[in-house]
């Protein structure tokens, strides 16, 4: 009796899991199916019907060239690398100063960052746009990268939290040995930050790679400065109904995320859990 009840619960558990997974992948799977269909097939068959051939790549080729995906990937990689490097450097340096030194203004700076984290990014863009405009940084890639580094607050918190778990005695003994404070940071503490850097790279990396709104706003020259996220924008307008191309484009943008996900699953889960605990 008890055994029967247990096995019913187990079955229910698997049914809900399968249902959850099904709902999660269905919208994506249908995109994959559609991306492999010829225009005739797309027009004549039901969306859920499988394509005749899984070797029909014309849609991908079309999507790639129509949306300038080559340029988009180049730009996205440049942005990603620079923003990650920039925000890891500035974030960890600031966190070092804030967590290690007591000085006038320490609390003030902390509170300034805390308050800034309350401001919703979208609302700020109304006036950030005006600043970017007056700096002449619209359609200027380095300017966009600097702005993206500057508006990052989560990474600072992750670094501060991490520094507070590294014992002070480590710095002190290095200072005794004649190391400068700069030396302590670059030679001793920075290498220890690796786990925190991975966390920041994941949280920030997902955000930057997928950033659509600010990329669209500040990189308006879509021939030269298109990113992976904004490249899909080409498919609105006259191409808005050709879902066989659109789906191919969507799949192309997802492939890098999928590869990174498969390779670094553990770090991604760990990073999210660590980032979430701090809020």
């Amino acid at each position: 009796m008890l055994k029967a009840k247990r096995s019913i619960i187990a079955v229910l558990k698997y049914i809900t899991l399968i249902f959850g997974a099904f709902v999660s992948v269905l919208p994506i799977v249908v995109c994959v199916i559609t991306a492999f269909k010829t225009p005739e097939e797309y027009a004549s068959t039901n969306v859920m019907a499988l394509p005749q051939s899984w070797a029909y790549f014309e849609n991908f080729i079309q999507a790639w060239s129509q949306a300038d995906m080559g340029v988009a990937f180049r730009n996205s990689i440049i942005i990603l690398v620079c923003v990650l490097a920039g925000s890891i450097m500035t974030g960890s340096m600031l966190a070092y100063v804030l967590s290690r030194f007591k000085f006038k203004g320490n609390g003030l700076v902390r509170n300034m960052f805390l308050f800034a984290s309350l401001l919703p990014g979208i609302a700020m863009q109304v006036s950030v746009y005006q600043i970017m405009y007056s700096l002449g940084w619209i359609n200027f890639l380095p300017g966009y990268i600097i702005m993206m580094c500057g508006t990052d607050i989560i990474s600072i918190y992750i670094f501060i939290q991490f520094f507070e778990n590294i014992p002070d005695s480590l710095d002190e003994s290095a200072i005794m040995d004649g190391c400068t404070y700069f030396g302590v940071f670059f030679r001793i503490l920075f290498p220890l930050l690796k786990p925190a850097i991975v966390t920041v790279m994941i949280l920030k990396g997902v955000g930057v790679y997928n950033e659509y709104y600010t990329a669209n706003l500040y990189l308006q020259d879509k021939n030269r400065l298109v990113t992976v996220a904004t490249s899909l924008f080409k498919f609105t307008g006259p191409l808005g109904n050709q879902y066989n191309y659109i789906c191919a484009g969507v799949i192309i943008t997802m492939v890098p995320a999928l590869i990174v996900f498969i390779l670094c699953q553990k770090q991604i889960y760990g990073g999210l859990a660590a980032g979430a605990v701090k809020g």
Binding site: L26, N46, S127, V128, Y181, F182, I246
Partner: protein, 325 residues
């Protein structure tokens, strides 16, 4: 030579080195913070009193913009849509909690289930927009699935156009996208619960449901409540789902979607700034209430929660009374 050496020594002296380090390391991040957060913040407050565009003349209008925010049909009304997203985020948290607790017990293929349910989080916003435009199109994916379940296409609504249902359709996509993230977060929290508690539960013959109620829930209560509270401020500032799926048409424009339209399409920068300021004030109020609740129930950092302190004082007072009598 001597001069140089003394300069070096001066730089290396503890006090100077310290100050130099503080200054050098703070310069860039603080400058960025000021330029991209604080200057825009104060400018925005300034803009909200003007009738202006990004370029050209501006005219001081006092509180006119604020009056408009509260009286215009499309502005303040749009905040009502937040309710859909609050409900959606509660649904999302409940699902995430359910799947997290199921997956943190022994389950065959748990890695695969976890991966599949998490992946939507990594899809970029605009791709999510296209995926769901396609998904909800008349006669396409969602309708086909419902037809398999025996529904008649004629009876189904237009998911993105029918104003009685389209906000639910759009809010559901954010559940789809973020549920996995919440799940991973809860799994992390459940894993950090002391494993010996589960062992003790096993010895006492507790089943999974009892373990959930008596072990998991009390231990991750803090993170659940915090996320529930955070989802309220999050719901006030929903932007991406309606922006990429419907563009805010057919009555799905949330507050920020409308603000964005006013700022960048109609160039009513003053009005948009006033909208931003109003929402900021609302978020500040909500945050202060949150902090209060947090402090009351959980304490901050190492300090005890106010509720605990009060309970203890009460107990001590009672004990004191008992002692004197």
């Amino acid at each position: 030579m001597k001069e140089k050496k003394s300069l070096k020594a001066w730089v290396q002296s503890d006090k100077v080195n310290r100050k130099l380090c503080i200054f050098a390391f703070m310069l860039v991040p603080v400058a960025l913070l000021v330029v991209f957060t604080y200057i825009p913040f104060f400018k925005m407050i300034g803009f909200s009193f003007y009738d202006m565009k990004y370029i050209g003349d501006r005219e001081f209008v006092g509180l006119q913009n604020y009056i408009e925010v509260f009286t215009r049909k499309d502005c303040f009304q749009a905040l009502k849509l937040s309710l859909y997203y609050i409900v959606a985020s509660f649904v999302q948290l409940a699902l995430a909690l359910y799947f997290a607790s199921v997956l943190s017990f022994k389950v065959r293929g748990s890695g695969v289930f976890k991966g599949l349910m998490f992946f939507p989080y990594l899809v970029c916003g605009i791709a999510v927009g296209f995926i769901f435009k396609f998904f909800y199109t008349r006669g396409f994916v969602f309708d086909t699935v419902l037809q398999w379940c025996g529904f008649n296409l004629e009876q189904l609504p237009y998911w993105l156009k029918d104003t009685s249902i389209n906000n639910i359709s759009v809010a559901a996509t954010s559940v789809w996208r973020y549920m996995g993230q919440g799940m991973v977060m809860f799994i992390g929290a459940i894993m950090s619960v002391d494993a010996s508690l589960y062992e003790a539960g096993d010895i006492d013959g507790a089943n999974s449901f009892q373990k959930f109620i008596y072990i998991i829930l009390p231990n991750i209560k803090t993170i659940i409540v915090l996320n529930m509270i955070l989802s309220i401020t999050g719901s006030l500032s929903v932007f991406e789902p309606p922006y990429v799926i419907t563009g805010g048409d057919f009555g799905t424009g949330t507050y920020f979607v409308i603000m964005n339209k006013l700022a960048h399409e109609s160039q009513k920068v003053g009005l948009a700034s006033a909208m931003a300021v109003v929402l900021l004030i609302l978020i500040m109020i909500a945050t202060l209430i949150q902090k209060g609740i947090e402090k009351y129930y959980f304490g901050i950092g190492d300090t005890e929660s106010i509720r605990e302190i009060r309970k203890r004082k009460k107990r001590m007072a009672m004990a004191g009374k008992g002692g004197t009598r």
